[in-house]
Symmetry: none
Subunit: 203 residues, 4 copies
DNA sequence: CTTTAATCGAGACGGTACGTCGCGTCTTATT
DNA sequence: AATAAGACGCGACGTACCGTCTCGATTAAAG
């Protein structure tokens, strides 16, 4: 039977999050051991094993918590929470968001844990499912929404599948970040938007 | 001093490749240990440590060898080796190749080791560099070449950066394979080509 | 401060005794844990820690209680409680009692807990003191008393130290039971009495 | 399959013996952990688990080794090795040996490990068998031999069972050492010999 | 065609981390 | 206030692999 979550120690939970994030940043994900997290958090190993099933789970929750705290701190920003801005100018809006995404991907604060989670996901389908559903898809869905709005406004062809269109913008960023197949900067983001909107063939 | 490669045992090398690939397919990459590879290959551990520096290196060579053998068996196909076909019809050529890539990514024979290498690369920048340079970029460069030809033929605008254009086609496949963010099939490949060539905005 | 024993739960105490004895018999003393006793007794761990300081203490009290219950059930037997019989025939009396002791030592009902307590005592001098004073010496003292009576009756030499004489009878039983250095049966008991009374040298 | 004993590290073996004996003396047997032995010996835990199945086994071998080294150092003493002296005077010979045994039992050098082994044996029949057969019985057999010689010389009655006679001398020492039921000194040893030889009944 | 030196299969070694068990303490809700 | 329940910090368990290190026994190049 599962443990009684009403008696869970909030202090331990937060200490574990902090320890996990710190260690991943300091020594990297593979050398971040559950024992080290427990020691750094001043917690017994069993307290980790009681509530999580793997260090990937721990890190994922820690990362989500980190995002939640950041969002709370940032107060009422537009951010991913409020969706993609809609100024009526699709090209400008997409560039704004893609540039912000590039900045976030390059933010060393998120780099280490995000990379670790992505790596775990690539090699571990079960974890990938949870990771994608929890962290990735919600953000990606915002693009789809914005694209549908653009379709309604006649700025995107009606027969375009917004999911595929979304990948045209987002996946190149993802791949360059995941695999380092090329530079990841604002210029790249801008070009992606232009090419994707108007095509690479002569008009 | 490095070992004398002239006295290297070819038999052991091949046994190690086979063992590594088998184990990755059978028990997964994380549970594939050097000890298990050595045992399965009927080889001393030192023989592995003498020639490779990590299990990722072993697997990478094994995977390359697998590809080489497959290529040899297939004889003189066009394949990635010969580059992307150039029938003069860019759209058709890209669809052909992307569909083939989709098929290859879905081939269970390659799935396990390729995924393992990708995962290792995502979490290990040093390995990523080697992995990308050796396995990924050569294939990706073929797209760039084909796109340049198309530019010369006036089928792609001259001011388009072929590296970015390439990512428009390839990265969506990569992300769906790596992270499972959506289905990976021929229809998807076709749409990608169409959208990227002609844009998603009304013409 | 010590807990208030007037509010102590009698039901829990008895359940703990039963659980301790059962577990020692079922899985052995080393694998009998306080957690298991608590679980088996349907009792909180703290209830054990409140009233006893170690599992050895618990088992000792449980064992004493077991003996008390048995004595009560047996009603007014002579037993060890009433001392050693005095029919006037020292040899016969000693044989009677030693045979009874042999039977008791071989009784599987007592074997497991008694052995556990003895083992704990051998390795733990602090516990040994309590164990010997509470369980062992009272019984042994009965021999001394009977031997003194025999001395008064002229059946034992007056200059004999009754404590040492007692050990002549009792210790061989103890050692064979504790260490299994030889068979432990009535014949052995009889011989011990004869040899100790009349010596092994030619008369 | 069992490990290859020809490749065993002698240095580690001796370091483990020393660590085990030291720790038992310093912190007691129950608090002597395999981990602590390994750490103190500068050895991996696996090296202990490879060659022994429990800490009791380790300690037993260490203790035997200790005895062997002591015997070697003592050179050609009479000791238990050469058996019990036979001067023709049984009473004197027995007193000599029993006094020596008393001294040995009181020697703090042997006290801690011997007690630990005895305790383990009392509570663990499987270990007891090995312990008794290896360490105890050989010594006890010497008494039997000496008593048989005495029987041949007419100093002990021919119908006396030498095994039981032996227990008359030895078991009282054993019990007082194991359970602390009384003082363990030369006077006690002398009295035991006298009582056992000539009986406690009036002659 | 030997000699000889490097590679080989094998696996013991000092370590680190695993995931589990039990300790004794503590907290919470129930009786 | 004592109780049943069980989370907690802690420490040890016995196991799995790590990467290094000997060992003979091939084994292929150089003498």
């Amino acid at each position: 039977m599962p443990p009684d979550s009403t008696r869970r120690s909030e202090k331990s939970r937060r200490a574990i999050y902090a320890a996990a994030l710190t260690l991943v940043a300091e020594v990297g994900y593979p050398k971040t051991t559950i024992e080290a997290i427990a020691a750094r958090a001043g917690v017994g190993k069993q307290t980790i094993y009681r509530w999580w099933s793997s260090k990937a789970e721990v890190l994922m929750e820690a990362f989500v918590d980190l995002g939640a705290q950041a969002a709370e701190a940032a107060g009422g920003d537009w951010a991913e929470t409020d969706g993609i801005p809609d100024t009526g100018d699709l090209e400008a809006d997409l560039k704004t968001v893609l540039r912000a995404t590039v900045d976030e991907l390059n933010d060393p604060r998120y780099e280490a844990p995000a990379r670790a989670l992505a790596a775990e996901g690539v090699g571990n389908p079960a974890f990938a499912k949870e990771f994608v559903a929890t962290l990735l898809l919600p953000s990606l869905e915002l693009y789809v929404r914005r694209l549908r709005t653009a379709q309604d406004a006649g700025q995107v062809r009606a027969d375009v599948d917004p999911y595929i269109a979304r990948d045209l913008f987002v996946s190149p960023l993802a791949q360059r970040w995941l695999q380092g197949t090329g530079p990841l900067d604002h210029a790249f983001a801008d070009k992606l938007v232009e090419y994707a909107l108007y095509g690479i063939a002569p008009r």
